[in-house]
């Protein structure tokens, strides 16, 4: 159960993502942005951060990295990928998921413990959760407002591709309170909040985030 964690220049939560993979019982494998080599991993996490400084548009440069030239076709062919925060932005920029993440509507960076409702729980990355389970995990972003055209939003909701929605407070102006989405087969998931920061009682607000990583391990065991 080898789960890759990509490090771009400016990736910040790569250590955290690797820790979460380990705590869930998987082997974390470092993937370097400059290598067009996926090291035979079974799944990939693209962690949060500010890849290449995100000075252009979040994730816009990362999608051209050598590792992405391998990862994009592999993901299209079914390799499971979880993009968290900047990783979600990169997945959208890479057109592996629809829509885009824009500047928070209140124009501030925000870091808070965020309540979510898990809405799709049959994916590779969310099957440890119960349907409609409420979880609290950290959210921290400056550009986390999920946007897409109305047709896309209708399709995401109609096809049940919204995996998690913000509860109580919409922290960034995301359309229809969307916190995370998946592709139709449930192998590719993008999520703005940070499950990797909620895997230990000591350092997280809860351990609710661990489920994303145990889901992956469980999916790999089953297959």
């Amino acid at each position: 159960m080898r789960i890759g964690v990509v490090t771009f220049p400016g990736s910040l939560d790569d250590r955290d993502a690797a820790r979460a993979v380990r705590l869930a019982g998987g082997d974390a494998v470092s993937l370097w942005h400059g290598d067009d080599d996926l090291k035979s991993v079974d799944a990939v996490v693209i962690p949060g951060g500010f890849s290449y400084g995100d000075y252009l548009r979040c994730g816009a440069i990362a999608k051209f990295a050598p590792v992405m030239t391998r990862l994009i076709p592999a993901a299209q062919a079914g390799l499971p990928v979880l993009g968290i925060c900047n990783g979600f932005q990169i997945l959208c920029e890479s057109h592996l998921l629809p829509g885009a993440l824009t500047r928070n509507d209140h124009l501030h960076f925000v870091c808070r413990d965020q309540r979510l409702r898990m809405e799709r729980t049959d994916t590779f990355w969310t099957n440890s959760y119960a349907a409609d389970e409420e979880i609290v995990i950290p959210l921290k972003n400056g550009e986390g407002g999920y946007v897409a055209d109305e047709g896309t939003l209708d399709r995401l909701e109609g096809d049940g591709l919204v995996i998690a929605r913000y509860l109580e407070v919409n922290p960034n102006g995301s359309r229809r309170d969307i916190a995370g989405i998946s592709n139709p087969t449930g192998t590719i998931v993008g999520l703005m909040p940070h499950p990797e920061h909620a895997v230990e009682d000591l350092t997280g607000p809860t351990t609710d985030g661990l489920g994303f990583f145990t889901s992956a391990v469980r999916s790999l065991v089953k297959s």
Partner: protein
């Protein structure tokens, strides 16, 4: 215009030089001529002018700061691995781990340009920590602003907060605490101090020295540009008026992405054993790095300045020497290791270039396209600057201030007055919730943050296996320092010490950022000297050394100096972070104790400030033996599992401590004034040496016996009680009851949390 070379300087001794515009005094300029035996070249003049500035040379403070080194226990400080004088001090925290931390000021740039000023303040302190060989692990920011309702505060505060967040968040360092204090003396001169802490194994400690003749000097990181040149543009414009570059912005511009690459790249070259000496580039840029490295090493260095990679090719050598472009480092590397060093730089896409080599000539020589523009003894630049014994005078108004007794102010008596005062105080800007600010900082990144603001200290785990961690707090009540600088500085130290001990960590070392007015004002200088003396004496009494810090003078608006603000940071170590004591109290029935004695200490208090706009009286006296004892009890309580919660009593007194504990947990409590105390004194006096702890009933006897055995007064002042709402007419609500006064946590929370959004706008839309 021809280059001002050493040869030219020798042949044209009488050229008039703009030393005064660069901030040098006539006698300082004469001394430079004496050292060199000729007039300085314009490049040399530029170097001396910045290195002999107050900021770099500590010329007014040096004679006082010596006490931090001189006042130490016999045999020295056992925990100290690297002391004052290096980029940051290093302490041994056990298990082969070493920790380095330091606080620095970036006050003036942050007033001119709040975002970039604050951002580059974070960048600078992070590089100081990095240059010791440590991985930076967290940052904190002690901040001071003008009144919350002043129009300029609305410009400065949001900019500073966005800058700290913008830089720190992008760098991937959790922001785990700090302070925000408002006072009218900071209007026009905010204080933006930045603290960073890092950790390394003992064998990874590195120093800033250029050792090994023939070793090469590599400049790496961002390219050198025209930002942050400040006074030197005066010189450049006078020397090169024809083709010279246009006026430069004097506030530096930060690139946190480059700093992140610089961190990873630097740690990789250090761990690969490729570095003999290392220095970050901060104030005074290449001038500082080369002269300090040479001065600390073999004593000589030769630099080819035209090799420096530039962002702007029109820069003159003087400007290159002075540029404070951010995100640059300087390393000394053996010739055999240069290729390996460059490979790692390429991996991280960090530009690097060899700019010179270590020599044993005892001179720092710098050439520009083959012509010598600098030839100086490096020690005279870096370490042998002017030293002043500035005149000092006790402030003329201290006696009048002392006579203006705060204890005579009208106090709230009736339950209604007490209730109103409680809500007003809890919502006053200095005591209000700081979530508006801290929610703009990432506190989670790296996954080792155990405690963060609003807890008493920020606490981070260093070793995931053993649970070894450190806790840090920064504190200073400038009003008390104003009333009594010697004792006030001790109280700042005591508060910071207490905040660390409250979390269960053992205080180990001190850093400080001494923010004062003009050293040329004898009353400011006296105040500074007294504060330093108090701090040095206090450190000796508590057994914790000052490991480094920073002095910031000239903090004044017109003739009005800021409140003297010696910000004290204390670092403590905890063997297992699982044992930390948080501030939120536990389930129903747990017992609330006030440790320490409460006297009538309203002088300099937040209550006098908020309710009466008053500053006067006799400051409370620091009793550091008592602080030490309190610390021991708090640490033992944490270690032995006797405490569920603990919280320092300081600004805003017991009332504020109770309110914060209740709001943090969301659970109510019933509390009462101990016998013989006036309720207003109990609630708002700021007697030092106190903390509130919460003890499970099963541990009560053991805990009170321990306090009795150690002769630490412990007063039973309440119990956690979630069911009070129904009894007090607040059905379904959590309430805090103090004697006959009842306030719901909803009402308290609203008062506490609405203040910042009211002043600075909503941070988060609903």
């Amino acid at each position: 215009m021809s280059l001002d070379t050493v040869a030219r300087a020798e042949s044209t001794p009488d050229v008039e030089q703009p030393y005064a515009d660069l901030g040098l005094k006539p006698d300082e300029y004469e001394r430079i001529r004496e050292i060199l035996g000729r007039r300085p070249t314009s490049s040399e003049l530029a170097m001396y002018s910045v290195m002999w500035s107050e900021h770099c040379s500590y010329k007014s403070s040096k004679v006082h700061l010596r006490q931090f080194g001189d006042k130490q226990p016999e045999g020295g400080w056992p925990q100290l691995m690297v002391g004052i004088g290096e980029n940051a001090g290093v302490v041994d925290v056990g298990d082969g781990w070493a920790v380095t931390f330091k606080v620095e000021s970036h006050n003036h740039p942050s007033y001119v340009e709040p975002y970039q000023g604050a951002a580059t303040g974070v960048g600078g302190i992070v590089r100081d920590i990095l240059s010791m060989g440590a991985r930076p692990l967290a940052v904190m920011d002690p901040l001071r602003f003008g009144p919350a309702d002043a129009p300029d505060t609305k410009r400065v505060l949001p900019g500073v907060v966005a800058g700290i967040g913008g830089y720190g968040n992008c760098l991937g360092l959790p922001n785990i605490g700090g302070e925000i204090v408002f006072d009218e003396t900071y209007a026009g001169n905010p204080l933006v101090n930045a603290l960073c802490v890092g950790a390394m194994k003992h064998e990874d400690v590195h120093l800033a020295s250029a050792k090994g003749v023939g070793n090469l000097v590599i400049l790496y990181g961002a390219r050198t540009g025209g930002d942050g040149i400040g006074g030197v543009s005066v010189l450049a414009s006078e020397t090169f008026d024809e083709d010279g570059p246009a006026k430069r912005p004097s506030v530096q511009v930060g690139d946190p992405f480059m700093e992140k690459l610089l961190i990873e790249c630097t740690l990789e070259v250090l761990h690969a054993g490729l570095v003999e000496g290392i220095q970050d580039l901060g104030g005074a840029g290449i001038s500082c790095a080369t002269s300090e490295l040479a001065s600390n090493g073999e004593g000589g260095m030769h630099v080819e300045l035209d090799r420096v990679l530039l962002r702007d090719p029109s820069l003159s050598p003087e400007e290159i020497l002075m540029s404070e472009s951010q995100e640059r480092m300087c390393a000394v590397v053996t010739p055999a290791n240069v290729d390996a060093f460059m490979d790692i730089c390429r991996k991280w896409e960090v530009e690097a270039v060899v700019i010179g080599e270590v020599t044993d000539t005892g001179r720092l020589t710098i050439d520009w396209h083959g012509e010598r523009v600098v030839d100086v003894p490096p020690r005279t630049v870096a370490h042998e600057g002017p030293v002043y014994h500035r005149p000092m005078e006790r402030p003329h108004d201290l006696d009048a201030l002392a006579a203006n007794d705060a204890n005579a102010l009208a106090r709230p008596r009736s339950p209604e007055e007490i209730r109103t005062t409680l809500l007003t105080m809890t919502g006053s800007p200095n005591l209000a919730a700081k979530g508006w600010v801290t929610s703009q900082y990432d506190r989670y990144v790296l996954g080792n943050t155990v405690l963060a603001q609003p807890e008493d200290s920020g606490m981070i785990r260093i070793d995931e296996e053993s649970g070894l961690g450190v806790a840090i707090s920064t504190d200073c009540n400038g009003r008390v320092v104003r009333l009594d600088p010697y004792n006030g500085a001790k109280l700042a130290l005591a508060e910071s010490y207490r905040n660390v001990a409250v979390t269960g960590a053992k205080p180990l070392a001190v850093t400080n950022c001494l923010n004062f007015g003009s050293p040329e004002d004898p009353e400011v200088m006296w105040t500074f000297a007294e504060a330093v003396r108090g701090l040095a004496d206090g450190c000796l009494e508590l057994g914790i050394p000052v490991t480094g810090g920073n002095v910031s003078f000239y903090n004044s608006t017109g003739d009005t100096a800021i409140l003297p603000t010696p910000v004290v940071g204390v670092l403590g170590v905890i063997d297992d972070v699982e044992r930390r004591t948080p501030m939120a109290w536990g389930p129903d029935g747990e017992i609330i104790y006030l440790l320490g004695d409460t006297g009538e200490d309203f002088a300099g208090s937040e209550w006098a400030h908020v309710m009466h706009g008053h500053l006067g009286g006799i400051a409370p006296q620091a009793d550091l033996a008592r602080e030490k004892l309190l610390g021991e009890v708090l640490i033992a309580g944490s270690r032995d599992g006797m405490l569920t919660a603990a919280h320092d009593v300081a600004d805003g007194g017991v009332a504020q401590t109770l309110a914060e504990m209740a709001l943090r947990s969301g659970i109510g409590a019933r509390t009462w004034t101990p016998d013989g105390l006036d309720t207003a004194v109990f609630l708002w006096s700021e007697s030092p040496g106190r903390a509130i702890v919460v003890v499970p009933r099963s541990e009560e006897l053991r805990f009170t016996s321990m306090c009795a055995a150690r002769r630490l007064p412990a007063y039973r002042i309440g119990a956690v009680d979630s069911g009070l709402g129904a009894d007090t007419g607040h059905e379904g609500q959590q309430v805090l009851q103090i004697d006959d006064v009842v306030v719901s946590l909803d009402e308290l929370r609203s008062a506490h949390e609405q203040t910042f959004p009211n002043y600075f706008g909503p941070a988060l839309t609903k």
